[in-house]
Symmetry: C2
Subunit: 427 residues, 2 copies
């Protein structure tokens, strides 16, 4: 991939809105025959505006290249996993060194212990760690450990929060039964009263409260957890002998290397991590406090690849590098530059743009844009000019987003913002 | 890793029973502090006889090396994933070529389509494919697709069968609730009457029958699916408009590349694959028939790493190589050589040894050995002489087990069998 190609976003991009390239189109036709719906899950191009590529050739740093050779500054970062940049040299070197020895063996490698020690040293509340492959594995293991520890069943979950795609948590009911959620009780994020009511409803059967590190529901302004809410979650669970689980799968290692609630001074009992932990290598982790250690040994959760050494070696290198470059601050700075640039463009164009969430995980929504039609237009226009954005899901910065990359995004969004302004006038 | 070291199993092995090496011991001590129980899941050395290493340095071909530099002929093959041999050159070259481009991106690579087409061409019943990371992801997705397709809830599961470690299927109840299994109905494997009774019990709420490709329950003689049982499962599910799911996670691509029930002439509606599919890279797959395609698009199952390209490139190379070398036959031949050698040794020593299952997945149990004490002794003695066996879980051959490797195992098991004979005399 020739990085220079994407620098200004213009060398590779058509002048008008994005269109699907010929190779992407041909692959979609083949995929439609052998894959239900052409693709499943969160990376389906069908849930993105028209013109977005479905298939990718590769990535380097903060840029991705689609199968048709178009290069974009990547503001999705593979939906979170890429935190240092695609194919980060230190991470890939560590992975390669481990791969030269072995990966999936009859037991873990020494790197398992190194990684667990690193997490225990890094994550504020962590007395121990366990590893899995995907975020859903980690959130599900947390719920199981909480139930095993307390001998109780009720788990409190915020309405609209995403905790994975297992039957107990997938946001789509197809294929699930009412029994899968029989012991869940809903509350409203950042609403201590609602949480207290749910705790009361659970009575003496309260096993856990599970909360995402921030409110990052689809197509809804993001909200950081308020101190009052985090304190209530901590106090209520402690009072009832229940487990406070922070689902840090999406935000973990992007906002604060000690865990995303560390700045609030609130320590959960269990945290679930995944996504950014190994810069794109498949890994998840649960960290926990001592009082849950025994319960964690009683729960039987495992997977064929959960002890694979290459992902752990990649994670160790990722966490080391994140610390070395103070990556959360680097990403915050880049995200702030993007936010301020977009705000200026919106003001100049007279467009009502709402930007929410921490700067490392920006979400853009346009005022009154209930079906994200303006968002789609904006993203299509930016895509055509070399910036890969998302119209309703939070985006992700990585430590490879330097000023030049952010400015390339802003060069792409300036005409996109003008297109939104024109569309508003034509309404 | 110096392959020559392990050739005879003697150069690296102490003369007596196995003892834990100093590096393994030191790692266990560190692990005990930061990992509940020192390790979780199926690879815990605590569930193996004393002396088994917990931590591994690497692998090559059919051999693994523990952290203390002891090399073993590997008859667990990482509990199944290794099917061509550790670090197979063609697989690793394909993985490396993809990794040089990118792995976890904003969407899948072209390799996704290649792999889906390969599975549809290879697996007898497959009209389409979807991918996940772990076996549990695949079996859970099958159950969800079946429920979505039928709009019904009941799933029939054989007593004692392992389908993964999610709350609905983990073999240990800790951390689960009765609701997790509320819509499961048990039957006995290979018992058509028991299956028919379970079907009747489900009535018009029958969504699926899920069966492992063979009966491979822990510490129990393995049984191939009988034709009568497989036919009953197929006929009963078809009659009721329910889904027949073959859980081929453990046996898939080891017994028959068309799917493990292909020799029986029985085509399931859905199959779950994982383990051997990518020779140790983290991947799982669901294959299905056309009538379930629409339901598969309605179910929301996904994971951060489910579209990662490196594992798919590895899978493509693995499947190509399995076909090229006719790996199931190669493994069957090696497994047969092992079986016959062990049978001769047992007969000579006057030891009652039961060998069960397909030769590619051997299980060894000693007559009257209810707590597997003889099995433990046998395995410890063999381990000390360079053969890594399991006393109660089925083992796995790979295509790299050549005659010399099997003979090295037999050289290790000969004195182990004598030790069992002595123990029997001392009873």
């Amino acid at each position: 991939m020739a990085i220079a190609q994407g620098q200004g976003g213009s060398a590779v991009a058509p002048a008008s809105a994005a269109t699907i390239g010929p190779l992407d189109r041909a692959l979609r036709e083949r995929a439609a025959r052998v894959i239900p719906g052409g693709l499943w899950g969160h990376q389906r191009a069908a849930s993105l505006p028209e013109g977005y590529p479905q298939f990718f050739r590769g990535g380097e740093g903060c840029r991705v290249e689609d199968v048709d050779g178009r290069v974009y500054v990547d503001l999705m970062c593979s939906w979170g996993p890429i935190v240092l940049g695609h194919r980060h040299p230190a991470v890939e070197a560590a992975a390669q060194a481990q791969r030269a020895l072995g990966d999936c063996l009859d037991g873990p490698g020494e790197v398992l212990v190194d990684l667990a020690e690193t997490l225990v040293g890094m994550v504020a509340h962590a007395d121990w760690a366990m590893f899995q492959t995907n975020g859903t594995d980690a959130t599900t293991a947390c719920v199981m450990i909480a139930r095993a520890a307390t001998g109780r069943r009720k788990v409190l979950v915020a309405r609209g929060s995403y905790h994975g795609s297992a039957p107990w948590c997938t946001p789509v009911p197809a294929g699930t039964t009412e029994a899968d959620r029989q012991h869940l009780i809903a509350f409203d994020y950042n609403d201590p009263d609602s949480l207290a009511a749910a705790v009361a409803q659970a009575g003496d059967d309260l096993a856990a409260i599970i909360v995402t590190a921030l409110r990052h529901d689809l197509a809804r302004d993001q909200e950081l957890a308020t101190p009052a809410f985090a304190q209530a979650a901590r106090a209520l669970s402690a009072e009832r002998g229940a487990v406070l689980i922070v689902d840090d799968v999406r935000a973990g290692f992007r906002l604060d290397l000690r865990g995303s609630w560390a700045p609030l001074g609130i320590e959960p009992d269990l945290s679930a991590f995944s996504k950014a932990i190994a810069n794109g290598h498949a890994l998840a982790a649960v960290t926990g406090r001592d009082w849950l250690r025994e319960a964690a040994t009683r729960v039987f959760v495992t997977g064929s690849f959960w002890c694979s050494a290459v992902s752990m070696a990649a994670a160790l290198a990722t966490l080391r590098e994140l610390r070395r470059v103070e990556a959360p601050a680097v990403m915050a700075r880049a995200g702030q530059r993007l936010r301020e640039g977009l705000a200026r463009q919106a003001a100049r164009a007279g467009v009502g743009l709402r930007q929410s969430g921490p700067p490392q995980m920006p979400l853009l929504l346009f005022e009154g844009d209930v079906e994200q039609k303006l968002g789609a237009l904006f993203c299509q226009q930016a895509l055509a000019r070399g910036a890969y954005l998302h119209p309703k899901h939070n985006m992700f910065l990585c430590a490879a987003h330097d000023d030049a990359a952010i400015d390339a995004v802003l060069a792409a969004t300036e005409p996109a913002m003008a297109a939104v302004a024109r569309a508003l006038k034509e309404r």
